[in-house]
């Protein structure tokens, strides 16, 4: 069996890639994908630990996270469409009416 530490390392890498993506990329959709990557890094850890503890609760948590992430993306895409309608762009640097 693959040791737990391998999975933990993989999830840390996924989380870092996701966090960097959120901070560096300027396209709203890509930022969303990066956030999904961060969520999935958490999910991977939950599943790993659930398997090593031989419990179900961690795996059930992942189901909830997936469902919630889907809802969040649905709302997010709707808002991106609304922004695109007014700006004709989803570059987040252009979304800057509110300043002060």
């Amino acid at each position: 069996m693959v040791p737990v530490s391998y999975y933990v390392a993989l999830s840390a890498i996924l989380f870092t890639i996701g966090a960097l993506g959120v901070l560096i990329r300027r396209n709203a959709i890509i930022i969303f994908m990066s956030i999904e990557l961060m969520l999935n890094a958490g999910n991977l850890l939950f599943v790993t630990f659930a398997r090593s503890f031989e419990q179900l609760s961690g795996q059930v948590f992942v189901f909830f996270v997936i469902a919630v992430a889907a809802a969040e993306v649905a709302v997010g895409l709707a808002l991106i469409v609304a922004v695109f309608k007014s700006k004709q762009s989803i570059d987040i640097d252009e979304v800057s009416n509110l300043r002060g």
Partner: protein
């Protein structure tokens, strides 16, 4: 168990009732929807007080998912009151007054907050936080014709989703350390002392990211001014009061139960929270000085108030818990009144710039009086409730040997007084050419403002009962 959840069940039923009534009514009669929502929420308040009173011992219900204690009870009332006032302010705000789905989203979000205040398990906590946040993202961007509103919803969502992802990663590590998702089990596992300090502190920071976003703690405060400015004004009030209170309810419960101080030995999270508190109030107050838009000014002021409340959390004592609960209750009514005034004034003034408030006292003496009382209470002037609340958090900081923090707090309170008085100077002393045009107050807003006004004065003059109730609520944590 059924009775203890009756307030939540009422809200779920209410959401469906409002949604179906909205379909059945024509455009004219939809003006009745806010009153239906308010009546349902009042029913939930009554159910909370009559049927869902917690006993002497805290009770874990729903298989350990929720904890039914006095803290849960007090925060339930806080959220319901915040939602009730928001609905009443919305009734007079034409762009949202007749939209059924708007009220359904407020109800859902309130339901999430009530679960946040009660959750004793990471699964429940995560779901409750998302049940609160997702409707709020939509509400912030609700007015799709207005570019500012969509932009604020979009920013709120991006920040919120990112901090949630960081928080979830922290949750997964907590689960890995303890093998359980229950907060009380996690505390036991951390107490065993086998975990290195660095991994425990790292987890605290990851988990706090999500909560810090909800309460707009520095450095997670950037969204607040933009989102408050763009979102519908009643919703800005809701975000700055009920949503923030929900964040604090979670912070005190999770930090005090899942991360017991004994598990750390020496350096623990109290120091981190003290520094965060000092930074949060200083940043909030200093940037607020430069604002020319009243909604942005109130946003930075609400960041500053998050800092004062964090002082009570940093104290991590019974007095600290008491001061947090007391501060949240007072802050709720005070800030709701301030945002309520902005929502009413915006209808006639057509702008949120400070210049538009010139001579408001001549156009509507009642509105100006509410603004005077609420801003003075935010500044911490006696005999308003804000004064007592500030005294209590400062006392908690001093008691916890953090005199420097109390000094920072007092200096900040002076800075705060300055910019609140600038607004009041415009309202009372400046003249404007439109002085003969009165600012009408819609009936539902007038009711909500009156209740808030009375509450501010009562909290500041008859202190003992509220002090005792806050003490009982905070006692549930220790």
């Amino acid at each position: 168990m059924f009775l203890t959840l009756l307030p939540e069940i009422t809200l779920v039923v209410l959401a469906f009732v409002v949604l179906t009534t909205d379909l059945a009514l024509d455009r004219q009669s939809r003006a009745f929807l806010p009153y239906l929502t308010a009546a349902g929420m009042l029913l939930a308040v009554i159910f909370t007080i009559v049927f869902a009173l917690p006993g002497d011992k805290p009770q874990l219900i729903f298989g350990g998912m929720l904890r039914h204690d006095w803290l849960t009870f007090v925060f339930r009332l806080v959220f319901l009151f915040g939602a009730l006032a928001t609905v009443l302010f919305s009734a007079g705000w034409e762009r949202v007054a007749r939209r059924g789905e708007y009220y359904v989203l407020i109800i859902t979000s309130t339901l999430g907050m009530m679960l946040m205040g009660a959750s004793a398990d990471l699964v429940m906590l995560f779901l409750a936080i998302e049940t609160t946040s997702i409707p709020l993202y939509i509400l912030a961007g609700f007015i799709t014709e207005d570019d500012k509103s969509t932009e604020s919803g979009f920013k709120y969502l991006l920040f919120g989703a990112m901090t949630t992802a960081i928080m979830l990663y922290g949750f997964s590590m907590l689960y890995g350390f303890s093998g359980s998702t229950n907060l009380y089990w996690i505390a036991g596992a951390l107490m065993s002392g086998e975990l290195p300090f660095i991994s425990m502190m790292g987890t605290v920071i990851l988990v706090m990211a999500g909560f810090a976003f909800k309460v707009s703690m520095v450095p997670f405060h950037f969204w607040a001014p933009d989102v408050y400015e763009g979102s519908p004004t009643p919703i800005a009030g809701f975000l700055s009061t009920a949503s923030k209170a929900a964040g604090f309810a979670v912070i005190i419960r999770v930090l005090l139960t899942a991360f017991p101080l004994e598990a750390f030995g020496g350096v623990d999270w109290t120091m981190m929270m003290a520094i965060a508190a000092a930074l949060t109030m200083s940043v909030g107050n200093l940037i607020a000085l430069a604002q020319t838009n009243i909604k942005r000014l109130l946003a930075y002021s609400s960041v500053a108030h998050a800092g004062y409340i964090l002082m009570g959390i940093a104290a991590a004592s019974e007095l600290g818990g008491l001061s947090v609960v007391f501060y949240i209750i007072v802050y709720l009514v005070t800030n709701l009144a301030a945002f309520g005034v902005v929502a009413v004034a915006e209808r006639t003034l057509g702008s949120n710039d400070l210049e538009a408030y010139d001579g408001l006292s001549r156009r509507s003496p009642a509105l100006a009086l509410v603004l005077l009382i609420s801003l003075l209470s935010l500044a911490g002037v006696p005999p308003m409730g804000g004064f007592i609340a500030k005294v209590l958090v400062f006392a908690a900081a001093v008691e916890a040997n953090m005199v420097w923090l109390a000094v920072v707090g007092i200096l900040n309170a002076i800075v705060g007084l300055y910019y609140y008085l600038i607004v009041l100077k415009r309202v009372y002393l400046f003249r404007s050419e439109e002085e003969d045009k009165p600012v009408p107050i819609p009936r539902p807003s007038a009711v909500a403002l009156t209740v808030c006004l009375i509450a501010i004065l009562v909290f500041g003059t008859i202190i003992a009962p509220w002090f005792d109730y806050s003490g009982i609520a905070a006692g549930a944590l220790f």
